[in-house]
Amino acid sequence: MIINHKKCVSCGNCIPVCPMGAIFVDTNINRAVINDDACVECGTCYRGMSTENLNPVLIRSIRKIARFLRFRFEPEPDVCPTSAFEMNELQMPRLIRQIFSDPVVEHQSTGIKGRGTEEVKTNDVNLRVDTGEVGYTIEFGRPGVGVRFSDIQEMTRQLAIEGVTFEKNNPITHLMINTDTGDLHSDILSEKILSAIVEIKTTIEKVEEVLETVNKVNQNIDTVVAVGISTRCDENGEDNLLAPRLEDLGAFYERAKTNFGLGRITNTRLKSEKEDIKL
């Protein structure tokens, strides 16, 4: 991301907008600048702010007078008055920041926008997590903190030691050079992103062990970690396996995504293959 300094009037509206707090006004040049190391290329400033196309010279003059008179500005707080933000073309490894941080950019590896995959949202069609199994989405960096791949690797390495199964369609799994060790490509380790989700699966007996590992590793990595934990319900729609186990562990859970089981295979090719198998 770039701020065009010919346009910027250092109004500061963009400063609170940045989820990473990467923008500040450099008083030496009286322009807003981006801390490139902190910026995760999420595009919030460029895409999320509304814009005007006012004349920068005129606006700077008005601001100077108003500042001299100690007037308080009351502009719309989400507007860049001179459309000063510009998106530059990114190359690897920096491009990986945008891929993991900008929700409207689609992951080529999954065909899904965002950082995860279909998880159990399509479990009624894919049965990714079956009875007796537990799926985990281990999310790093959100809300509002960000994470470096080196920290994610700390976790994937430990999880690999635990013998978990990494979800093959997950973007982080695609970045692993070895799913047995949890090692990620070395050229991206120092890159910072807004967030990423590691998806794994275990048997239900391993829940305690995995959650303990996640908590332990989180103590040593400088970010926040949020865990989603999923299971298949029984034929009556009840979860009598995972929920009691979580309660025994004293885990706090009040919110959930619930799949109502309304999906089915309708693609013609797959449907006919299924019918052939039945015959």
Partner: protein, 224 residues
Amino acid sequence: MTNTLHRYGKADSFKDDYIIFAIPSKGKNDEDCIPKLKDFLKICARHNPVNMGNGQRGTLTPDKDLGPSSHWNRSGQPDFEAVIDGVDKPGTVSAVFGDASSATECLQEIIEADFGISVNISTSVENAKEAAHKCSISRHSVEYALAVNDPHDHLPNSQILSLSTMCGHGMVSFNLARKMLDMVREGRRTPEQAVATLTRFCPCGVYNPARAKRLLMEACKEQK
């Protein structure tokens, strides 16, 4: 896409927060699914949603060519039609509801429409059970949100977190949520104006303006 799992709050804080979304599965039921996704949204639009999204946009979006007078008369009206018309490829579509009865009635109509696409709800565990019970369906799978681990004290207070985490992709920054809260407290913006500003930053359309307004008004009464 609709990363709505880790919204901050206790169960009763989700009394006005129901997100129903449809997600086609790649290679399984994504063939010719666009008309179905549009029909899904059309059903949702009939049941008083407070926001809707198609993965590309929500009902309130940033304005890219504002005139100077917009500072005095800016529109905060949601555009549901634009979200429906904007569905042009397979992906998650969603609608946010601010009350249980609208969400349940909508779900009932979606069940009857029988799109064959996975339908999920994101809300409290109890709200989801209740909705399933009222619509006489069983839950297939469930993903629980466990608490966020923050051993290094990165996170702000609960008021800011509640407002910020309603954009699951993190596009509503802590600082913007704080600024809006302060502007409402100082009487420099109405809660409606502040909520419209926050909602515009969520590109997926899953931000809940009804809940945000309630949270802002509650937060104004209690300083933290």
